[in-house]
C-alpha cells in the first residue's frame, strides 16, 4: 500500500474535500491518501462523504494547527 500526501492547508477553493476527491481518482484501490487540512470542517465533511461513497476512513489526528486525515481507497 502506498500513501499519497495532499497538503490542503489554507485551501479555500477548491478546498480539502474537493482535493481529496480529485486525489482519489489518481490512486489505486487499497492505496491511501493522507490529507492535511487547516479547516476543522474537514473532520466532519470528509468522513460524511467517505461514508456515502464507501471508501475506508483511517486515522484522524490533530497536529499543530491542522488535521491529518487518512483515507483508504476501497472501490
Amino acid at each position: 500500500m502506498s500513501t499519497t500526501t495532499i497538503d490542503a492547508r489554507g485551501s479555500y477553493c477548491p478546498g480539502p474535500l474537493l482535493e481529496l476527491i480529485a486525489g482519489l481518482k489518481l490512486i489505486s484501490i487499497g492505496d491511501e491518501i493522507e490529507i492535511w487540512s487547516s479547516d476543522q470542517g474537514s473532520v466532519k465533511d470528509i468522513p460524511e462523504w467517505i461514508a456515502k461513497v464507501g471508501h475506508q476512513m483511517g486515522e484522524t489526528t490533530e497536529q499543530d494547527g491542522y488535521w491529518s486525515i487518512r483515507i483508504i481507497k476501497s472501490k
Binding site: T4, I6, D7, A8, R9, G10, S11, Y12, C13, P14, G15, P16, L17, L18, E19, I21, A22, K25, L26, I27, D45, E48, W49, K52, V53
Partner: protein, 379 residues
C-alpha cells in the same frame, strides 16, 4: 554566457510570463545576455473564459482568438512545437518535431485539459462548454431545446470554479427570455456537501437558486452516463434523468507531464510560495499545471505569473528571488445575463462576495476585451 529561459506552454500563464520577462529584462535581451523561448501547441491564442458565452450566441467564435505571434512580444522565440519530454535532470526539453532545447531556467505552463472520456458515457451523452467544439455542440443543443429537465453536473477537479454557477444562471435567464423557463427544470449537482467550494459563495448561491427555482443535489460525483436512457448516475448512488445534460468534465494536466514522470494526473508538485517545482531550483510551474490547492483559473495564472516574472528577473540579474506568491485569486461571477459579482481571496484571507450589480457585470464584459492587454503583460 547568455542565460536561456525556456517556457513550455503558450496559454495565459506562459504568455504573461514571456511578455513580462521581456519588459523586465529588456536591456539584458538587447545585449544578448538572456534569451526567451516558448514552445506552444498552436499558433492561436484563445480567450478561454469567452467559451461561456458561445452556447448563448452572445460572443462570436472569432472574438475568442488572436494570433499568438501578435500577442507575444517580438523578442520571444516562439515555436509551434509541443514538448514531448521534459527532462529536469538534464535541463533539456524534447519536442514532437524532434527538436531539443536546453535551458538555464524552465517555466512549465502546460495547463489542463478536460477528460470526459474518463466517465463512461459522458462524452456521448453530455454537453460542455470548456472547449470550442463542445461549446458549439452545446449551442446547437440549446437551440434545439424546447423544455424539459436540464442537469448541470460538476466534476472534480475542474478549472474556473465559478463557471458552473455562471452557466446555471445564464441557462435560466436564456430560457426565460425564450419563454421556456416554466417548461424547464434545472438541477445543479456538486461533488461536495454544499453548492460551491467557497462557503460564502455556496450560501449566496443557495438563496439565488431558490429565487429562480433552480434545484440542486450535493455530494454528487458522476460515475456514469447512460445516453440511451438519458440518465446520470453518481458514485454516491443517486440517478438523475435529463433531457439536456451540461457537464463540467473532470480535468487532467497535459499528457507531457505524466509522460515525463513529473506529476500524477499531469499536476506538477510545486512549492506554493516560490512556485518552484519541488526538488528543482531552476524549474518553475505556473497556472493550472501546479498541484497547489487553489483555484485553477485565469486570475491565478495571472497573479502567479506576476510573481514569477519578478523572481526570474531577480534571479537572472541579481541571483536572488524577489517575493513569495501569496495565493491571490480573483474571479468575476456572472449571476445572470446582466448582473455579476466578484470574489477574491489568498492563502490568508477568506473570500467574501458582495451583492451582484450591473456595474460588476459591465466590468466583466470590459475585462473580456481587456484580457488581451493582460496577456500582453500590460494590465
Amino acid at each position: 554566457m547568455s542565460k536561456r529561459i525556456l517556457i513550455v506552454g503558450g496559454g495565459l500563464a506562459g504568455t504573461i510570463t514571456a511578455n513580462g520577462l521581456c519588459r523586465q529584462l529588456g536591456s539584458a535581451l538587447g545585449k544578448g545576455e538572456v534569451s526567451i523561448t516558448m514552445l506552444g501547441t498552436t499558433d492561436q491564442h484563445m480567450y478561454q473564459p469567452g467559451l461561456l458565452y458561445i452556447p448563448f450566441g452572445t460572443m462570436r467564435e472569432d472574438e475568442l482568438f488572436r494570433d499568438q505571434r501578435k500577442v507575444l512580444d517580438r523578442r520571444v522565440n516562439f515555436f509551434v512545437d509541443p514538448a514531448s519530454n521534459i527532462d529536469v535532470e538534464n535541463n533539456r526539453v524534447e519536442t514532437h518535431a524532434g527538436m531539443s532545447f536546453g535551458y538555464d531556467y524552465l517555466v512549465i505552463a502546460t495547463g489542463s485539459r478536460i477528460v470526459p472520456e474518463e466517465i463512461p458515457g459522458m462524452a456521448e451523452g453530455a454537453h460542455w462548454f470548456y472547449d470550442l467544439d463542445g461549446a458549439r455542440k452545446m449551442r446547437q443543443a440549446l437551440e434545439d431545446f424546447d423544455g424539459g429537465k436540464i442537469v448541470v453536473n460538476v466534476n472534480a477537479p475542474h478549472k474556473c470554479p465559478v463557471a458552473p454557477l455562471e452557466i446555471s444562471f445564464m441557462l435560466y435567464h436564456h430560457l426565460q427570455k425564450r419563454g421556456l423557463a416554466d417548461k424547464t427544470e434545472i438541477t445543479y449537482t456538486y461533488p461536495i456537501g454544499r453548492l460551491h467550494a467557497l462557503e460564502p459563495v455556496a450560501h449566496w448561491t443557495s438563496a439565488e437558486f431558490d429565487k429562480y427555482g433552480i434545484k440542486s443535489e450535493t455530494f454528487f460525483n458522476a460515475k456514469s452516463v447512460d445516453p440511451a436512457a438519458k440518465t446520470i448516475e453518481s458514485e454516491e448512488g443517486s440517478t438523475l434523468p435529463y433531457d439536456l445534460l451540461v457537464t463540467i468534465p473532470p480535468h487532467r494536466g497535459a499528457e507531457v507531464i505524466e509522460a515525463s514522470d513529473l506529476g500524477a494526473g499531469g499536476w506538477v508538485p510545486t512549492d506554493r510560495h516560490s512556485l518552484n517545482r519541488e526538488g528543482s531550483s531552476n524549474v518553475f510551474v505556473v497556472g493550472d499545471t501546479t498541484n497547489i490547492p487553489i483555484s485553477k483559473a485565469g486570475s491565478t495564472a495571472h497573479y502567479e505569473a506576476d510573481t514569477l516574472i519578478d523572481n526570474l528577473t531577480s534571479l537572472v540579474l541579481e541571483g536572488r528571488t524577489a517575493r513569495p506568491y501569496d495565493g491571490k485569486v480573483f474571479c468575476f461571477v456572472e449571476t445572470g445575463m446582466d448582473s455579476a459579482t466578484y470574489v477574491w481571496f489568498n492563502y490568508e484571507t477568506p473570500p467574501n462576495p458582495g451583492p451582484p450589480s450591473k456595474m460588476i457585470h459591465w466590468s466583466k464584459l470590459a475585462y473580456n476585451r481587456l484580457y488581451w492587454l493582460s496577456a500582453r503583460g500590460l494590465l
